[in-house]
């Protein structure tokens, strides 16, 4: 009996023409213009940032557009000690879930300007944008958040997002 075949390689390549949808398109256009825009659910009144499709709790189309501030509260975070193949960031770094002021959902962003040992839930942070001439239709226009000199937020203010 010869050696069994234990694996084969069958390359797969597919190309897609992706449609972000109306809500996400509006969000991306605002980001391109340097504006952070959330959308409010007409049913539960939650403000999503970024918003996609519809309210993922109520199944309703969004109605109102709500301006979101560049300041926010770090709801939770992870200290990353293993680099992903396509990311080149000095280890360790901190990935934060930030609830920006005016929003009721968290956004995942890179945290800089503080050592991992000093990061804590409730920290107040502010978005740092990439240079204006590089702005694109992307959440990545926000390069990272960094701490600001404000007292930590009360746990109750973000406990539902942890």
């Amino acid at each position: 009996m010869s050696e069994p075949v234990t694996g084969i390689t069958t390359p797969i390549r597919m190309e897609y023409r992706y449609t972000p949808g109306r809500t996400t398109s509006d969000f991306l256009k605002a980001m391109k213009g340097g504006r952070m825009e959330g959308r409010r659910c007409p049913s539960c009144r939650k403000v999503y940032f970024p918003a996609r499709g519809g309210c993922s709790m109520c199944g309703r189309e969004f109605a109102e557009t709500v301006p979101i501030k560049e300041t926010g509260t770090l709801a939770t975070f992870a200290v990353v000690n293993v680099n992903f193949a396509n990311r080149v960031i000095d280890l360790p770094y901190v990935t934060a879930e930030v609830v920006f002021d005016g929003a009721d959902t968290t956004t995942m962003v890179l945290l800089r300007g503080v050592s991992p040992e000093e990061v804590r839930m409730g920290m107040r942070v502010k978005a740092h944008w990439i240079p204006k001439e590089e702005w694109d239709y992307s959440l990545a226009n926000i390069d990272y958040v960094e701490p600001i000199d404000e007292p930590d937020a009360e746990y109750d203010s973000y406990k539902d997002l942890v």
Binding site: E15, Y16, R52, G54, G59
Partner: protein
């Protein structure tokens, strides 16, 4: 068996949905299906969807689509990586358990973002057949060639199927391809994938469909003419298209027998994306084209949102029976290459 009926249906279908994503496509269709029965998605005993992430090219696209349902507080839900007709089967089984009375079935599919004929090649057996990338149109053409070579059908028969579809589709607002086109004009068209012409191949469609099931008295409360599922079954043939006779569909015949398809139902809604497949299904189901109206909606040749077109067959049959235009129907849905897996159901009105 517990009596289960369709009480509502809504759909969306178009050539290319450039602005709305899947969730944005689904939200209004779900609302449209729930409105006539005065219920919300939170009132449903069970929710199940049929779709495939390969169409969107995004892992867990089906989970994202759940946003459209309003799944909070948490609902009881499930998903099949198949046409919505097979999700309907799961809902029917779930209703048999007796502890719930309603179920919402939805399906969605945007065939336009990728090359759908290549996307469908990814459902093939991955060691020997898949790596050859036989696209869905080429496989259907091989099947059509086998059918013509067997002497069971001619190119004129294929044209007859397409002509009927185009004519019937004129009354269907959701159909993309429609018109008063005769067989001779169709046969003048050039070959596309020999022996298929472009019109023997379904259009690329984006769409969504939502259907609501209810059991027993609950169905009678929700609709003045609930459409009962009198029988439903699905069967499967050998996976490799090279290992079976492509000119027949024994799994359809067996499913029809198990579902109890009556002689000469008023209408037949057959999920045949290719004209040649409609001929194979008519024979497998024992239908007489002079006594049963075949695909009065135009069928999948008129609009073919992949993963939706099977559930649409249920909806189209429901609409006609519910309105009193037909007493009963045989409904068929397929999955896999060259009619590999087939579901057959018998629908009947209350009045």
């Amino acid at each position: 068996m517990r009596d289960v009926a369709i009480v509502s249906f809504a759909q969306h279908s178009q050539r290319r949905e450039d602005t709305r994503n899947e969730v944005e496509m689904l939200i209004p269709v779900i609302r449209e299906a729930l409105e006539p029965i005065g219920l919300t998605s939170q009132d449903m005993g069970f929710t199940v969807s049929g779709s495939t992430d390969y169409l969107a090219g995004q892992a867990f696209a089906f989970v994202q689509a759940l946003d459209a349902v309003g799944p909070w507080p948490p609902i009881s839900e499930s998903h099949v990586e198949m046409d919505g007709a097979f999700a309907l089967y799961e809902a029917w089984v779930r209703l048999q358990s007796g502890d719930i009375d309603t179920a919402l079935v939805y399906s969605f599919g945007k065939s336009s973002p990728g090359d759908v004929a290549r996307v469908l090649a990814l459902q093939l057996e991955p060691y020997l057949l898949g790596p050859l990338w036989p696209d869905a149109v080429s496989l259907a053409a091989l099947q059509a060639r086998a059918l013509l070579d067997s002497g069971k059908a001619t190119e004129k028969d294929l044209a007859r199927v397409v002509s009927r579809s185009r004519k019937n589709a004129q009354a269907n607002p959701y159909a993309q391809l429609k018109g008063d086109i005769d067989e001779a004009a169709l046969l003048d068209e050039p070959l596309y994938a020999d022996p298929l012409r472009k019109h023997d191949v379904p259009p690329v469609s984006d769409g969504a469909a939502v259907l609501i099931l209810a059991a027993g008295d609950r169905a009678r409360e929700l609709s003045s003419n609930p459409v009962w599922i009198r029988g439903i079954d699905h069967r499967i043939d050998i996976q490799s298209p090279g290992s079976r006779d492509l000119t027949v569909s024994p799994s359809t015949t067996l499913a029809a027998k198990k579902a109890g398809v009556p002689k000469d139902p008023d209408i037949a809604e057959l999920h045949a994306p290719f004209s040649s497949q409609e001929l194979i299904l008519i024979e497998a189901l024992g239908l007489d084209e002079t006594r049963t109206s075949i695909n009065p909606s135009g069928g999948a040749l008129a609009a073919n949102a992949v993963m939706v077109a099977g559930l649409q067959r249920f909806g189209e049959a429901f609409n006609r029976i519910n309105k009193g235009d037909a007493r009963n129907a045989v409904v068929h849905a397929t999955s896999g290459p060259c009619l590999q897996q087939n579901l057959v159901a018998v629908l009947e009105g209350s009045n």
